[in-house]
Amino acid sequence: MEAQQSVLSPAGADAQSIATLSWIMFCAAALIFFGVVLITIFAHKGNEAWRRRLSSNAFIFCVGIIFPTVTLVALLIYGLMLTGARVMATEADALHIEVVGEQWWWRVRYTESGAVTANEIRVPVGRQVEIKLTSADVIHSFWAPNLAGKVDMIPGVVNVIRLRATKTGTYRGQCAEYCGGPHALMAFHVIALEPAQFEEWLAEQQRPARSPTGALQIEGESRFISKGCNACHTIRGTAANGAIGPDLTHVGGRISLAAATLPNDVRSFGRWIRDNQHIKPNNRMPPFGVLTDRELAALAAYLEGLQ
């Protein structure tokens, strides 16, 4: 499944109206540009009458002042209407989510249910979603272009973005404000689901982690503690309760790893745990080169199993 990340294929109410505005402006701009080119050609090569007209003060006045004033005022009014539309009120049945930007991943919490996940936001199609955005460290910017414009995540400030997905699908988003180091690798997914599917998923997220099955996974679970993974990560239902890194309770069920940097499979888990500083330089997790191949395989199997 190829996730999209484009302004031009809107799947949200906000993005839709902005896309309409964009196309109007692109067409108008193209017309104006070719108009200016044409006028310049006439000014250079046109006959005397044309050139007399084009060199008059009236021409400068009309084309240089009146035309842009009228066009811009019209555009401004249209733009302000759209701006107002975005700053709309929160609906009563809106879904509330809190997203915290952290170097270089996204902490996600569903306010009503308390479900916690990371780098992935699932939303029901058609329902308004209000997301509270803030940052734990530097300034980030939350941008899922298919759904809406971006809003900055600023330490000490809580900004709000309201979305409404209109089509089911997987949409990719990315941090848009340079946040140092691997800013390029700080992405996320928004997955718009049918409401029933969404509720099912949300219920699953609230449950504690499923127990490991098979010797390898069981070994992985104990390694998760003894190697110190639990110092930073939480897996609900186990002793792991670290609060620094992403909650891994259902990590195996997400569609990507490391803020949409790697696909979610056993091999990626292994690569990430041992070699994350090469995959995503300077990220906040230390590389666990101390693990033997066996230990790594066990951990990867365990984590992949946390569906």
């Binding site: 540009f33 000014a43 400068i60 084309v63 240089g64 733009g79 759209l82 910017s141 272009p145 900055d152």
Partner: protein, 832 residues
């Protein structure tokens, strides 16, 4: 004509003496040259060097982005590259190159012999060049800043950028800004006070107008970023929490201050380029510029509006809707003045016959690119659209269309157009056409696809991108375009190397049949004599003008005082007022610049003692340089011709140094206003850190009394210029009172237990004190300098410019001090 100011023939020795006086030093003494043409050329050369260096960084980045998941350049290096590319292009290329062209051309356009403060230009250039090279060199030691060219905290705070990389930006850029301000003061006084007689404001070349607006904008915009860098450096070095949210600071304060500078910066760069276009278009069409007055109004309006747009860089920060509406409207409004200029140029083309020379081609290219940049500019002024494309590659495309199209193309037109004024021949038409074709095609191939990549979701400042998002082709095409563009620039370079030979006196002359004064026969001393001006295109009106000027028929054909001189005229009507004795070559500004650069850079790498040593040496050099200014009435009034007899020394409000001092104080005032804005802004964000209890009222009262006393003492000293001891005593009293006033304010805060690292409020209060402290120290140094001048017998009731300038600074210092007290002590009581 019978009414020439001077009869012919001129005395034989006159020209030889003029040339001897204005001779440019040779050999290694070339470093001491101060002549505006030389400094201007050094300046242009240095700026182009930085253009090429930053361009190479861009090419390397384009290589990295040519294919997805490329590993050519690692993340850390890439982050340094894009930070340096932006910073170097903005601070070390764009602003300096237009300032350089101004220094190079303005005196010639106004038939002045030199700028009024030639040593200041030399100082500004050397500080910029040496400092800029070292700053760029930080790349080779992995020390280059990596926070993006707008250096947003908290990313650039000590916590998230613990290395010295960020300090290189904050301190390194600090003095390049100082250099830009020095240049701006020079240019304002130069434009307003050293025009040819009769060149009233409405006959001034449009380029001079644009440079006047440019310099004025620097005076008001740069202090904001100087303050911002000062605050962030204080936070980094001493933990004063201006931008730390937990202690009442706000990261958005930086953005407000930065963009209050940063947006005008765009027009600071663009307006002079537009001025150049307004000079070249009439020449190439052979008719005067259409709608001259409207264009001047447009320039001034752009300068004015540009200060009201800064928030459009912050549409996504979640600011209130009302602000969004205001700044959106203002951002659109600024498109209108640009539109006026574009259509005035087109109208001029229609009025005449455009010769398709290389400069014309570059200007047509500019028009096409700039119109696209302007249109996308209107788009991003639309708030909802900006929410989508802000910080995406669409913006990267837009800003390059505006800046590269709006500024680099005109500058290349200017290089082809004006180089014959300092070289025996033109550059090659054939190479020029190739260069234009490569640059125009390359530019559009490189940057147009970025619009689409941005709309397809590609954020800026990413060192790599994933496969499968549909960005691959656009990036590859961009890279190909970038190298085509670079090839075009390389052709221009080759052309310059092949065909440019520096020669002032032996220049090619008026090769384009232009109408303005810079095309008069010229040399190191400017024109032989200074003609009166009666129209905007004097060379078109009077075909004999060049010959007459060169024969010495007009004003000031020699050097009557035996030194370098230029004519000072009134600001509006350009009536001759006095003969200004300008200064010649000297090592002092050169070494002052070397030590200034060394001071800041040593400070960056925390070598405090050597830095302080360099600071003291800078001060010594500046005082030594200052010592030679203020010559007094060393010559009786001179007859410049036509019966006009002018004094050689003037003090008070008509003196050029008075004007320069007033502009400098405007810079200081801008900085102070930005600081007060910061104070009030932080209050709106975090009123909870404002104190319930203030220092006892006695402290600010004592401080205010001491301030007023010190001002009175300085005023009294002005009446005692003839009585040396009374003068010295009252200045010493003034110094003591000023120091006491500052101490009372500081001590009052300190006694109350307030510490600057406690909260953003405390940090701001102490910053007000610190900024005032800088002024107090400067005032005291100038006070002591004035005493020294007096004791040396160099200060009299007539020869009083030194005192006048000290007095101006003094009263300003006291005024700012009192206002500071009022706000720091009054506002919390009012608000609390």
């Amino acid at each position: 004509m019978t009414d020439y100011p001077h009869a012919l023939p001129r005395p034989k020795a006159e020209l030889a003496e003029l040339e001897k006086i204005w001779k440019v030093p040779t050999g290694f003494r070339l470093l001491t040259a101060v002549n505006n043409t030389y400094i201007g050329l050094f300046y242009v050369g240095a700026a182009l060097l930085f253009f090429i260096l930053a361009g190479i960084l861009a090419l390397l980045m384009r290589l990295q982005l040519a294919v997805p998941e490329n590993t050519l350049i690692d993340q850390g290096t890439y982050n340094q590259f894009f930070t340096m590319h932006g910073t170097v292009m903005m601070f070390l290329f764009a602003v300096p190159v237009v300032e350089a062209i101004g220094v190079l051309l303005l005196p010639q356009m106004q038939a002045a012999r030199d700028l009024p403060f030639p040593r200041l230009s030399a100082f500004a250039f050397w500080a910029y060049f040496i400092g800029g090279l070292v700053f760029f060199g930080s790349l080779f030691f992995d020390l280059a800043p990596d926070g993006g060219w707008f250096m947003y905290p908290p990313l650039t705070s000590t916590r998230f950028s613990p290395g010295e990389n960020a300090d290189f930006w904050l301190v390194g850029i600090g003095f390049i800004e100082i250099s830009a301000i020095a240049g701006a003061i020079e240019i304002i006084v130069g434009i307003l006070r050293t025009r040819a007689p009769g060149m009233t404001l409405d006959k001034m070349p449009v380029f001079a107008w644009s440079m006047l607006v440019f310099a004025g904008m620097i005076v008001f915009a740069f202090p904001a970023v100087i303050l911002a860098t000062f605050l962030l450096e204080l936070e980094r070095a001493f933990d004063w929490p201006f931008f730390i949210a937990e202690r009442g600071g706000d990261p958005l304060l930086w953005q407000h201050l930065f963009w209050f500078f940063g947006h005008p910066e765009v027009y600071i760069i663009f307006l002079p380029a537009a001025g150049m276009v307004s000079m070249i278009v009439p020449t190439m069409t052979g008719v005067p510029l259409r709608a001259y007055k409207l264009i001047v109004v447009a320039l001034v309006a752009t300068g004015f509006f540009s200060f009201g747009l800064w928030v459009h860089h912050m549409f996504a920060t979640g600011i209130p809707e009302l602000s969004l509406a205001f700044f959106s409207a203002a951002s659109m409004a600024v498109a209108i003045p640009s539109g006026i200029q574009v259509f005035a140029w087109i109208a001029t083309i229609a009025a005449g016959r455009l010769r398709l020379t290389v400069p014309s081609l570059f200007i047509l290219g500019f028009l096409a690119i700039f119109v696209i940049g302007g249109l996308t500019g209107v788009m991003v002024a639309m708030v909802p659209f900006d929410w989508q494309v802000h910080d995406s590659y669409f913006i990267v495309a837009h800003l390059h269309y505006v800046l590269f199209g709006g500024m680099v193309f005109p500058v290349f037109a200017a290089i082809y157009y004006w180089l014959p004024a300092v070289s025996p021949g033109r550059l090659s038409e054939r190479l020029g056409r190739w260069a234009f074709a490569l640059m125009f095609a390359g530019f559009n191939v490189a940057f147009f696809p970025m619009h689409i990549a941005g709309l397809m979701g590609m954020p800026r400042r990413v060192y790599t991108y994933a496969e499968g998002l549909g960005w691959e082709w656009y990036n590859l095409v961009s890279t190909i375009g970038a190298f085509t563009l670079a090839a075009g620039v390389a052709v221009v370079l080759a052309d310059v190397l092949l065909n440019f030979r520096l020669s002032l006196a032996g220049n090619a002359g008026n090769v384009w049949r232009a109408g303005t004064l810079e095309w008069l026969p010229n040399s190191a001393h400017g024109t032989r004599s200074i003609p009166p001006v009666t129209s905007r295109e004097p060379l078109w009106d009077d075909e004999k003008l060049a010959g007459d000027v060169d024969a010495g028929r007009y004003y000031l054909p020699g050097a009557p005082t035996g030194g370098r001189e230029t004519l000072v005229t009134s600001a509006v009507e350009a009536v001759p007022q006095y003969v200004l004795q300008v200064q010649g070559p000297s090592w002092r500004p050169f070494f002052a610049a070397v030590f200034t650069a060394a001071f800041f850079l040593l400070l960056t790498v925390k070598l405090v003692m050597p830095a302080l040593l360099c600071g003291v040496l800078t001060l010594a050099m500046i005082i030594a340089w200052l010592w030679q200014t203020d010559p007094g009435v060393n010559h009786p009034p001179v007859d410049i011709g036509g019966g006009t007899v002018l004094p050689v020394y003037v003090t008070g409000s008509s003196s050029h140094s008075w004007w320069a001092m007033v502009i400098l104080l405007l810079v200081a005032a801008s900085l102070f206003i930005a600081l007060i804005f910061s104070y009030l802004y932080i209050w709106t964000v975090s009123p909870e850190v404002w104190p319930a209890r203030m220092p006892a009222v006695i402290w600010p009262l004592a401080s205010a009394v001491a301030f007023i006393l010190s001002s009175a003492a300085i005023a009294f000293a002005g009446r005692m210029l003839a009585r040396r001891w009374a003068l010295c005593l009252s200045i010493i009293l003034a110094c003591l009172a000023l120091a006491a006033a500052w101490y009372f304010e500081f001590q009052g805060q300190w006694q109350s237990g307030l510490r600057p690292s406690a909260s953003s409020y405390a940090a701001l209060v102490y910053t007000v004190t610190a900024v005032e402290g800088q002024l107090v120290v400067t005032a005291v140094i100038m006070g002591l300098y004035t005493i020294t001048r007096s004791l040396a017998g160099l200060l009299t009731p007539v020869r009083r410019a030194t005192y006048d300038n000290t007095m101006l600074l003094w009263h300003y210092t006291v005024g700012q001090g009192l206002l500071g007290l009022l706000i720091v002590h009054g506002f919390p009581r009012l608000a609390g």
